[in-house]
Amino acid sequence: MICCLVLGWHGWTHAGPLRPLGIHELTEASDVVLRGKVTAKKVARDEAGRIFTTVCLEVMEVWKGQLEESTFELVQSGGILGNQRAETPFQASFRLNQEAVVFCRLNPDGKGVTIGLTQGKFDVFEVGNNQPSHVRNLFLGGPPPTHPTFASRVRMPQQLPMTLEELKQTVREETR
């Protein structure tokens, strides 16, 4: 019985809070994909009283969509406002001066909203030794094999190390 194996590859099952979004899906759902640097964050309330944060990015490259300004604003629920605070698990977090690639749709106010919460943001990081910048989000990308963390990693074919340039080319191909 065991001699005749038919191996079924069903992939990872995801009935958890997040289903991994591929780059194709992220790109397709986005009005704007850009590489930028965080220059400011501000917190306010909307008309219904919701606390939200606006993240200002200095645009370094636009990979999808058209922007006339050199800065881009995206919004997300949560933040600290006076003595009140909002937290959003799986919300993308942004640090000042951090470089990131963001996949955003535009809401009715014309502000960017990251696709799939944190999945719409890729951190850009350096790996040293004159190697190109790499990117990763919660599920995709990561450091190269020479990186110290690689020893504890296992990757599926769709979860290879990813450089910033590779991500850019993939997005560009998806938008053609």
């Binding site: 809070p17 289903r19 919004v75 937290e87 799986f90 599920f139 963390t149 990693r153």
Partner: protein
């Protein structure tokens, strides 16, 4: 102008994670502020500021509103019933004081808004953009948004299910492939609503993910129950239970994000929690488990998967994206330490670790299969049942040790006999597999077990990623088999499903119908409509299936039913109804080719 009900400082949160309580008490995984105040409902003092439309402090009741549209037009009643059932399960936890009240239906289009003094539960079916256009929930299954004061007293919550890119089902007998089982996800999200975070045990309802359809999230684990008993206890319960706490340390330093596991003396997993970052209340690496029944236990420590690992079972960010973004993982799993818990006392136990990186890790699970002809790779718990014989489970990982060289592969815990163990190299991509054939004792303790693999370089675990299901579950302790109730009632914890009820009006109670094997929601199906066993004349098994010969009345219609246990479990329909043409009739059950099924024949109405 909008009136804000809240008069205190208020923090807002929304999540697919959970939160907790006031004193520094917990097991499981909780949320807390910098003063060590945990997040939960009904905190004295601040609770007086919460809208009575959201909760009632004196009765410990949280109110909720459902969107009457459910997920689907055809199934909305069952879908809403499944949510009600999930609430029932949480409030039926023994020795607890937590109540929910369905206060009504949402009027108009539901929306996430933590300032409307309404706990709203709904399926979003029109747009991924929710919460006033602030969040895109694409890829999410369900999200629980929570609001809380600065003392972390919960004051409002909304739950949204993704109705745009997922299919949902309430069919317990034959759930559609890859459809999400409403009750399981509702149970999970309600766990967040009352304050829980994602768990460190694979089979917990609060595990960050599970397989679609029926899964191990469907029944509350000891971990989940302990949370409610800790933060919503019945009077006097705390006098009966004890606490374990201490620090996880490595080289004299507190360790952030180490998984601490509590087992009984046979290695059966009971609880899991995580060591916490420093704050005003405790040191780095502090851990605590509360509501522990007195007795002797083992406690051990394991690392989470690395936060940069693309494949993982549980890593820091999926437990709490903000609190454990980069937990410490470069240490070896510890040896179990024997401890003793006494009622009303706190047992202090420092847990020291040895440095080192794991030589291998378990990164995937092979769910239960009868044979090895179809293997799948999952990240969710493998479920086995008391009395299972010769079934296969297993696990996957990169560079797993093969046979020989002192390699030990097994299952930690009691009541499971492991038989054949097979190593397969590079079964899925670079992932090696260990497949284990096992049998489960009929009286094996229900609950989680842990896979492990060990060689001279170290040991790796998959904690709680194997779960023993009871053969005849009765989690709501009403005296009726849950499987029977779930098979026939969407709101199986409700009054209609109670043992003494007769919802189809055929003068037979649900209990009588269960014992006879008839259908409790169909008046034409009664205990007397089932043929007596001696009417079954012959059962023959061939490659085509099992054929059953029985005494019949010409012109009468019959339906075959089968199950795998003579005394317990739900009957399922086998084959098509047939009309008898003579004094004996034969029905084929094409789904069975082994002699492991018990049959009955139902007499259908003409």
């Amino acid at each position: 102008m909008r009136q804000y009900h809240f008069k205190q400082r208020r923090w807002l949160g929304w999540s697919a994670c959970g939160l907790l309580a006031a004193m520094p008490l917990w097991a499981f995984v909780s949320n807390y502020n910098e003063r060590g105040q945990h997040q939960y409902w009904f905190k004295p003092g601040s609770s007086g500021f919460v809208s009575p439309n959201v909760m009632q402090y004196t009765s410990r009741t949280i109110k909720y509103y459902l969107d009457p549209n459910g997920f689907s037009e055809a199934g909305k009643q069952r879908e809403l019933d499944a949510i009600r059932t999930a609430f029932d399960q949480w409030q039926q936890i023994p020795d607890s004081r937590l109540h929910f009240e369905e206060a009504g239906f949402v009027s108009g289009k539901p929306e996430v808004n933590l300032f409307d003094n309404t706990n709203t539960i709904f399926w979003e079916k029109e747009s991924f953009l929710v919460n006033g256009g602030l969040d895109d929930i694409r890829g999410s299954l369900g999200l629980t948004f929570r609001a809380f004061f600065d003392d972390f007293n919960l004051v409002e919550a909304d739950i949204v299910f993704n109705g745009l890119e997922r299919q949902w089902t309430t069919d317990y007998v034959s759930p559609a492939f890859n459809a999400i089982f409403v009750e399981a996800v509702a149970l999970h999200e309600i766990g967040h609503l009352i304050g829980m975070e994602h768990a460190t045990i694979g089979s917990s309802t609060m595990m960050w993910q599970a397989r679609p359809g029926l899964n191990s999230q469907l029944d509350l684990s000891a971990d989940d129950i302990a949370f409610v008993q800790t933060y919503y206890p019945a009077d006097g319960l705390s006098d009966k239970l004890g606490t374990l706490q201490g620090q996880v340390e490595l080289g004299g330093e507190g360790v952030l994000g180490a998984v601490v596991l509590l087992e009984d003396t046979q290695g059966n997993l009971i609880r899991g929690t995580i060591s916490h970052p420093v704050n005003q209340q405790w040191q780095q690496g502090f851990y605590q488990m509360t509501a522990v029944p007195p007795g002797d236990y083992l406690v051990r420590v394991c690392p989470l998967d690395h936060h940069l690992a693309s494949q993982f079972l549980i890593n820091g960010p999926v437990i709490d994206y903000f609190r454990f973004p980069e937990p410490t993982t470069d240490f070896q799993p510890s040896e179990p330490v024997a401890i003793s818990i006494q009622a009303r006392k706190t047992t202090e136990q420092r847990l020291s670790l040895q440095p080192g990186s794991a030589a291998f890790r378990i990164l995937g699970i092979q769910p239960r299969v009868r044979d090895l002809s179809l293997l799948t790779l999952e990240r969710s718990t493998a479920q086995i049942t008391q009395g299972d014989q010769d079934i296969w489970v297993g696990f996957y990982g990169e560079n797993l040790p093969s046979e020989g060289d002192g390699v030990v592969v097994g299952i930690r815990g009691s009541g499971i006999e492991t038989k054949i163990k097979q190593y397969r190299e590079s079964l899925f991509g670079d992932l090696d597999a260990w497949l284990i054939q096992l049998s489960v004792e009929t009286d094996a303790l229900p609950g989680p077990r842990s896979f492990f693999i060990q060689d001279q370089d170290g040991i790796a675990y998959a904690n709680g990623f194997l779960h023993v299901e009871p053969r005849s579950p009765d989690t709501n302790q009403d005296g009726l088999n849950d499987i029977f109730q779930r098979s026939h009632f969407a709101h199986w914890t409700g009054e209609q499903a109670a043992p003494s009820q007769d919802p189809d009006g055929d003068r037979y109670t649900n209990l009588e119908e269960y014992q006879a094997g008839s259908v409790p929601t169909q008046a034409s199906s009664t205990p007397i409509s089932v043929l007596p066993p001696f009417s079954l004349l012959e059962v023959e098994v061939s490659q085509d299936g099992a054929s059953i010969l029985f005494e019949s009345q010409p012109g009468q219609r019959y339906q075959l039913h089968g199950r795998h246990d003579a005394a317990e479990g739900p009957w399922t329909v086998r084959g098509e109804p047939v009309t008898a043409e003579g004094p004996t009739t034969q029905i084929l059950d094409p789904s069975t080719t082994e002699l492991n099924t018990f049959y009955r024949v139902e007499v259908l109405s003409r």
